[in-house]
């Protein structure tokens, strides 16, 4: 059977599983809808977090990015994993004890202010909508590349599936489908990696095989490009930027609403800690394999160039297939071209999708990789849509506009809001704004400079006040937003060139680190100059530091 046939086969099977789960997991109340009734076991929750986290970007693009960046790709490898340590020790167990439904819930209660709640809800909406546009686009792209379906229809099919399990089952449906999606995506990612590792080196484990491939790759890269794959700080990735971007990504991870809210769904505080462990373990299975995939792909491509030259390469079937999609611009090739030119004509996004073909793996593997890419995109999209729906239905409607509405009314509002969110996300996927890639820098920069500091201080520093938190959030938000727009004015505002090329040498992806530092400073200074939080809030902070509920007489003696 051809690649298309196998892709249809795998997609049909996996989508049927998701639909089955949707029907099995339908919920009847808002506690089920928002936090899955807090009944998710830690291992399952960890797998769901991993699927939620690993988006189309992680699955499809990251190995390609690393392939082109070499050592410097560590910013993404460490940046997108190290934040889980921050989440585990600074946030997750305490927010789980706090209990409610969303991140704006915590901000609104801890900082005794509906203003703070609304600011947080708007920030959460902005971060989540921008992020989800990229996901729906990813769904459309995979459908069009692998199933020859028009991108628009691909997005619509994706929207239909997500609507089904998100509207029926809310967080419960989303969580259990994410467990299924994790299983699909990890199998789809690992099988090619193991197969290629074995083919290239005789060692099936990619992490050991890369030790044999890297020396050959370094040598080849030196001959063809004049530098080493493993060499640090190439080009614009100097030590300062590697540091700032890695830090912004780590702290941003711990500040993203759709990640934080995933720890509300477990039974107990201790499960939140273990869930964080399982999450990083499951994420690590992919992230520890990506560098190997990146090196294998790079090695194959440079080796083919070295042995066959451009004319020889044009005879390879994988080059022809991908040239047809326009993602390898063979039109720009010439007989005497350099390896550097060759690499510039290859779209980095094709690395994960093309490597099984490059290595001559069977069609069923290639089809499975497509199903894995869809699983990754849909799982992240659904997590984001829940944040969007809950920000509108719970944080704004349920807590501020009409708190006395009965639960079944709130549930209906929640379902309607998620559905509206799906429609908007779909439209953004069909008509993406020009700056979808910049959006990732925005999302992480905003999360690390607005949410991360005030949540951490909220747990660890009782003296942190509402005025401090609001001032800190706004400082971080405005600083980071403004600088990113200035540095990316060409993509975001349509100008000829960016208005600013860097901030003290730091690029747009790393400037959130500075915003975060400013947030901490402003929050602390303003808090010290404003009245301390009311007694109930200080009691709340005391309560969330301990796994079990403290009794009244215990609190008296504090």
């Amino acid at each position: 059977m051809s690649i298309i046939g196998w892709t249809f086969f795998w997609v049909a099977i996996t989508f049927s599983v998701y639909i089955g789960i949707a029907i099995w997991s339908r919920v009847k109340d808002t506690a089920g809808f928002y936090v899955a009734g807090q009944g998710i076991p830690s291992v399952a929750n960890g797998a769901a977090v991993a699927a939620d986290w690993m988006s189309a970007a992680s699955f499809i693009s990251m190995a390609g990015l690393i392939s082109f960046m070499g050592y410097d790709g560590a910013v993404y490898l460490m940046g997108w994993t190290g934040g889980y340590v921050l989440l585990a020790v600074l946030l997750a167990p305490f927010l789980r004890k706090f209990g409610k439904f969303t991140v704006p819930d915590f901000v609104g209660e801890r900082y005794y202010s509906n203003t703070a709640r609304v600011v947080a809800a708007i920030a959460a909406l902005f971060v989540s909508f921008t992020y989800v546009a990229g996901q729906m686009r990813g769904v459309g792209v995979v459908f069009s590349r692998f199933l020859q379906v028009d991108i628009v229809w691909g997005v619509i099919i994706g929207m239909a599936i997500v609507s089904l399990y998100a509207v029926l089952g809310g967080m419960k449906g989303i969580t259990w489908t994410q467990v299924a999606q994790y299983t699909v995506l990890i199998i789809a990612y690992l099988i090619p990696a193991f197969a290629i590792a074995y083919t290239l080196t005789g060692i099936p484990l990619p992490q050991l095989a890369l030790g044999k491939v890297l020396p050959r790759l370094d040598q080849l890269q030196y001959e063809l490009l004049g530098n080493f794959y493993s060499q640090p700080f190439k080009g614009s990735w100097d030590m300062l930027n590697v540091f700032c971007v890695t830090f912004a990504l780590m702290a941003g991870t711990a500040g993203l609403p759709h990640v934080i809210v995933r720890f509300y769904t477990v039974r107990r505080v201790v499960d939140a800690r273990w869930s964080a462990f399982w999450a990083l373990f499951f994420i690590g299975l992919l992230y520890l394999t990506a560098p190997a995939v990146a090196m294998f792909a790079r090695y194959y491509i440079l080796n083919a160039f070295n042995e066959l030259g451009p004319t020889g390469m044009l005879d390879l079937s994988w080059v022809q297939n991908w040239a047809q999609t326009g993602l390898i611009r063979t039109g720009e090739w010439s007989e005497g071209m350099t390896a550097a030119t060759l690499l510039s004509t290859i779209d980095r996004d094709i690395i994960v999708l093309a490597t099984p073909e490059i290595a001559n793996l069977s069609a069923w593997v290639v089809g499975l990789v497509a199903a894995g890419g869809l699983a990754a995109a849909l799982s992240t999209a659904s997590g984001l849509l829940l944040v969007i729906g809950s920000a509108m239905a719970h944080d704004i409607y349920g807590q501020i506009i009409n708190p006395s509405a009965p639960d079944h009314v709130k549930l209906t509002v929640a379902r309607v809001m998620i559905f509206i969110g799906v429609i908007i996300a779909g439209l953004l996927g069909i008509f993406p704004p020009g700056f979808v890639a910049e959006v990732v820098a925005f999302a992480f920069g905003l999360a690390c400079s607005s949410f991360f500091p005030i949540i951490v201080l909220g747990v660890f520093w009782k003296r942190c006040t509402k005025e401090g938190a609001i001032a800190g959030m706004l400082t971080g938000l405005l600083f980071t937003f403004t600088l990113i727009v200035l540095m990316r004015a060409d993509r975001v505002l349509g100008l000829e060139e960016p208005i600013l090329s860097s901030f003290l040498g730091i690029n747009a992806q790393g400037v959130g680190t500075i915003g975060m530092i400013l947030n901490f400073i402003v929050t602390i200074l303003v808090s010290l100059r404003t009245p301390p939080p009311p007694k109930e809030v200080q009691t709340l902070v005391e309560q969330i530091r301990y796994p079990r509920v403290l009794r009244a007489e215990e609190l008296e003696s504090a």
Partner: protein
């Protein structure tokens, strides 16, 4: 055995958290970024050590850090009598 009091528990939690974050910083930043070039003169599993730390070792250690956290905090919970059973966890939608 005398039970740990709450103040001590919270102090121990913060101390251990701080130590875990120190290791996190050393592994993720000092070894993988600031000292990557000197470290690259050594090799591990056929790969320059700084590079290996940045792309493989750091992730493995992050996973172990969270494991250590979960285990250590569980022990502390029991020592201070603050672990929860089914009856002492707050149900959702109830802030305390």
């Amino acid at each position: 055995m005398a039970q740990m009091d709450r103040k001590t528990y919270w102090r121990e939690v913060r101390k251990r958290t701080a130590w875990l974050l120190v290791i996190w910083f050393i592994v993720g930043y000092v070894l993988s970024i600031f000292l990557v070039e000197p470290l690259n003169t050594l090799k591990i599993a056929g790969v320059p050590m700084g590079f290996w730390m940045a792309q493989q070792g750091s992730i493995m250690i992050f996973i172990l850090l969270i494991l250590a956290y979960a285990i250590m905090m569980g022990k502390l919970d029991r020592a201070a009598g603050v672990e929860e059973d089914a009856g002492t966890t707050a149900p959702p939608s109830q802030a305390h």
